[in-house]
C-alpha cells in the first residue's frame, strides 16, 4: 500500500467513525430535544434531573468502564462543580460562565485528589476516593461562609442567556440538554481517541502498557481529571436546575448511586450509565414518593438484586479485569 493510499484509508476510517459518532449522538439528541413538547412540566423536570445524573454516571463510567478504576467518591467533583456554579451565579454572573467556573474548579480539585488516588489500585482506590468524597462533604458542611453549611446554598439565580432568564421547566431542560450533549461528546472523545485506547490498555494490563513505554500513571490522572471536570459540569447543571446545593449532593450516597447507575446500565458503554441513571432517579424520586418515602429501601434492594441477578451487567467489566 502506498503512503498516500494509507493516509487515504486512515482518513476514510476517521471520517466514518466521526460520522457514526455524530449519528449516535444526534439521533437520541433530537428525540430528547422534542421531549418537553409532549411531556407535562413535572415529567420534563424529572427528565432534566435524569440528564444531569446521567452525565455524572457517564463521567464516572470513564473511570470504571474505560480505565477500570471504580471510584466511591465521584460525587465530590459533582459537588465542587455545583457549589462553584451556585456561588458564581449568586455573587457574579448566572451566565454559562458559571458552568465554566464549575468545570475549572472540579478539574483543579480532581487533579489534586487524583494525583494521590491514581497511584493506588483495587480496594485502596475505593478507600481513597471514599475519603476524598468524605473530605468534600466535611468541607461543604463546615465552610459555612462559602457553602452555607448544612443548609446549603439556596435561592441560586436561574441561568441567564443574553439577558433571557432560563427558569421554565422546558427552557431549563433545553439548557441542560445542550451541555449534557457537550459533556457526552467530551467523554466519547476521551474514550475513543488514541489516548482513550491507551486507557483501555491500562485497564486490561497496566504492566504491559508500562512496559510498552506509556506513562500509565499520567494517563490515568488525565482520565481522572476529565471525568472530574465533566462531573463538575453536571454539578453546575444541578445548581442551575435545582437552584439549591446541599452537602448531600457531595456525599457518599450520591457517589454510591452514581456507581449503581453505572453498574446497572453496564460499564463501558456510553448510553448504559444514562439508562441506569434514569432507573435510579425514577426509583428514588417517583417510586420513593409513592411508597411513603422508602426510596432508600427500594434502592438498597436494587443494589442487592443487581449484584445477585445481573452479573452480566458487571461481567463485562470483570471479564476484562481478569485478563490482567
Amino acid at each position: 500500500m502506498t503512503a498516500a493510499a494509507r493516509t487515504d484509508n486512515t482518513t476514510h476510517l476517521r471520517t466514518r467513525r466521526a460520522a457514526r459518532t455524530a449519528t449516535v449522538i444526534a439521533g437520541p439528541s433530537l428525540v430528547l430535544a422534542a421531549a418537553p413538547l409532549y411531556l407535562a412540566p413535572y415529567a420534563t423536570t424529572t427528565l432534566t434531573r435524569i440528564l444531569i445524573f446521567g452525565l455524572l454516571a457517564a463521567s464516572l463510567d470513564l473511570l470504571v468502564g474505560v480505565v477500570g478504576l471504580p471510584s466511591l467518591g465521584h460525587a465530590a467533583f459533582f459537588g465542587v462543580g455545583a457549589y462553584a456554579a451556585a456561588w458564581t451565579a449568586g455573587h457574579s454572573t448566572a451566565s454559562p460562565m458559571a458552568l465554566v467556573v464549575a468545570v475549572l474548579a472540579a478539574a483543579v480539585v480532581s487533579l489534586v485528589a487524583g494525583s494521590v488516588a491514581v497511584r493506588s489500585s483495587g480496594v485502596f482506590f475505593l478507600m481513597l476516593t471514599l475519603a476524598v468524597g468524605e473530605l468534600m462533604q466535611q468541607a461543604a458542611d463546615s465552610w459555612a461562609s462559602v457553602t452555607g453549611g448544612s443548609n446549603g446554598l439556596y435561592g441560586v439565580p436561574a441561568p441567564s442567556l443574553w439577558g433571557h432568564v432560563v427558569d421554565q421547566p422546558a427552557t431549563t431542560y433545553w439548557y441542560v440538554l445542550t451541555f449534557f450533549v457537550l459533556g457526552m461528546v467530551v467523554l466519547r472523545l476521551a474514550s475513543t481517541s488514541s489516548p482513550g485506547m491507551v486507557l483501555r490498555g491500562v485497564r486490561d494490563s497496566e504492566i504491559r502498557m508500562r512496559a510498552l513505554g506509556y506513562p500509565t500513571t499520567r494517563v490515568k490522572l488525565g482520565a481522572f481529571v476529565v471525568a472530574g471536570a465533566v462531573a463538575g459540569l453536571a454539578g453546575g447543571l444541578l445548581a442551575a436546575q435545582q437552584r439549591l446545593v446541599t452537602p448531600a449532593d457531595v456525599g457518599f450516597t450520591t457517589s454510591a448511586l452514581a456507581l449503581l447507575a453505572v453498574v446497572i446500565g453496564g460499564t463501558g458503554s456510553w448510553w448504559g450509565p444514562c439508562l441506569g441513571a434514569a432507573l435510579v432517579i425514577v426509583i428514588r424520586d417517583m417510586l420513593g414518593a409513592s411508597i411513603d418515602g422508602h426510596g432508600p429501601l427500594a434502592l438498597g434492594l436494587m443494589f442487592v438484586l443487581v449484584v445477585y441477578l445481573m452479573p452480566a451487567g458487571i461481567a463485562r467489566f470483570r471479564a476484562r479485569r481478569n485478563v490482567s
Binding site: 470504571v64 471504580p70 466511591l72 494521590v116 497511584r119 493506588s120 483495587g122 480496594v123 485502596f124 475505593l126 478507600m127 481513597l128 471514599l130 475519603a131 476524598v132 468524605e134 473530605l135 466535611q138 468541607a139 463546615s142 456525599g251 457518599f252 450516597t253 454510591a256 456507581l259 449503581l260 453498574v263 422508602h294 432508600p296 429501601l297 434502592l299 438498597g300 434492594l301 436494587m302 443494589f303 442487592v304 443487581v306 449484584v307 445477585y308 452479573p311 458487571i314 467489566f317 470483570r318 479485569r321
Partner: protein, 295 residues
C-alpha cells in the same frame, strides 16, 4: 482551665475514642483482611447496637437494662454476622466492587429499617447510675463514663488481640487467611471459619455501638460516619493485621480529639489529611501482613 488540664482531657478523650474505634475497626479488619470481604454494612451494625442500647434502656440506662442490652447486642450481632456471611458467600470469588455494591445495598436497607423502627430523632442515652457524672482526680474533672469506657474497651482490645494472636482459634483464622485449602485438608471446614469470623466481627461492631451510645447518640447517618472512620483506620493500619488497626485507631483518636481542642473545625480535615499523607508515603498502610496470599 489551665492548659495542661485541657491537654490531658483531650488526650484521655482521644484514648477513649481511639479504643472504641479499634473495636469497630477490628471487626472490619478481621472480615476484610481474613475473608477478603469489604463489608460496607459494618457501620449499620454499630448503629443497631446504639439503638438497642437506647431502646432497652431509654434515656437513662439502669443496670438491668444494661445487662439486657449486652445480651441483645451479642445475639443480634451474631445473627447479623451469620446472615452477612451467608449473603456474601456466593461473591467470594468476585471483585471487591461487587461486594461493595452488595453490602452498600444491605446498609441502605438497614438504614431504612432502623429509621422506620426508631424514627429520625437523635436518641441520647445516659449510662446507668454509678457510671455517669464526673470524677475529680487531683483537681482534674472528667466524665466518669469515658474512664469506664477506656477500661472496658481496653479489656476487649486485649481479649481480641489475645484471641487472634495466642489461641488455637486465632491460629485457625490466620491459617485460613494464608492457605484455605491447607486448612480444609486438616479436616476443618473453611466455611465454618468464615461464619465464625463474620460473627465475631459483627458482635464487636454491635458491642461498640452499645459502648458508644452515650457518646455518639443513636441517629440516622451515624452508620456512614462510623463506617468511614473504621475504613480509614483499617486502610491506614494495613490489611489483615490486628496490630495495625490498633496503632491507627489510637493515632486517629488523638488526632481527632487533640485536633478538635487545638484547631476546632479542622479536626475532620486533619483526619483525612493524615489518611492521604500516610497513603501517599506508604500506599499499602502502616503495617502490612507480609506472609499470606493477599492480593
Amino acid at each position: 482551665m489551665p492548659t495542661t488540664q485541657i491537654a490531658v482531657t483531650a488526650m484521655v478523650n482521644g484514648l477513649a475514642v481511639g479504643l472504641l474505634l479499634f473495636i469497630i475497626a477490628a471487626g472490619l479488619s478481621l472480615i476484610f483482611g481474613m475473608m477478603d470481604v469489604l463489608n460496607l454494612a459494618h457501620g449499620s451494625l454499630f448503629l443497631t447496637g446504639a439503638y438497642l442500647a437506647w431502646w432497652l434502656g431509654g434515656e437513662q440506662q439502669t443496670w438491668p437494662s444494661l445487662a439486657r442490652a449486652v445480651v441483645a447486642v451479642i445475639v443480634v450481632g451474631a445473627a447479623a454476622g451469620g446472615l452477612l456471611s451467608l449473603m456474601t458467600a456466593p461473591l467470594s470469588r468476585r471483585s471487591h466492587l461487587e461486594q461493595a455494591l452488595l453490602t452498600l445495598g444491605i446498609a441502605l436497607v438497614a438504614a431504612d429499617i432502623l429509621s422506620a423502627l426508631f424514627g429520625d430523632d437523635v436518641h441520647a442515652t445516659e449510662p446507668p447510675p454509678g457510671l455517669g457524672g464526673t470524677v475529680v482526680i487531683a483537681g482534674w474533672t472528667y466524665p466518669r463514663y469515658r474512664l469506664v469506657l477506656i477500661g472496658v474497651a481496653a479489656l476487649i482490645t486485649v481479649g481480641v488481640y489475645w484471641t487472634i494472636e495466642r489461641t488455637s482459634m486465632g491460629a485457625l483464622f490466620r491459617a485460613t487467611v494464608s492457605d484455605r485449602d491447607m486448612v480444609a485438608t486438616t479436616g476443618v471446614d473453611p466455611r465454618l471459619v468464615r461464619v465464625g469470623v463474620f460473627v465475631l466481627g459483627s458482635v464487636l461492631a454491635t458491642v461498640a455501638g452499645l459502648l458508644g451510645a452515650p457518646i455518639y447518640h443513636a441517629r440516622p447517618g451515624l452508620d456512614t460516619t462510623i463506617l468511614v472512620l473504621a475504613l480509614v483506620v483499617v486502610v491506614v493500619g494495613g490489611l489483615g493485621s490486628i496490630r495495625g488497626p490498633l496503632v491507627a485507631a489510637l493515632l486517629f483518636g488523638q488526632i481527632e480529639s487533640v485536633g478538635r481542642a487545638v484547631l476546632p473545625g479542622l479536626a475532620s480535615f486533619l483526619l483525612f489529611g493524615t489518611l492521604a499523607a500516610v497513603l501517599a508515603v506508604r500506599p499499602r498502610g502502616l503495617f502490612v501482613l507480609t506472609s499470606g496470599a493477599r492480593r
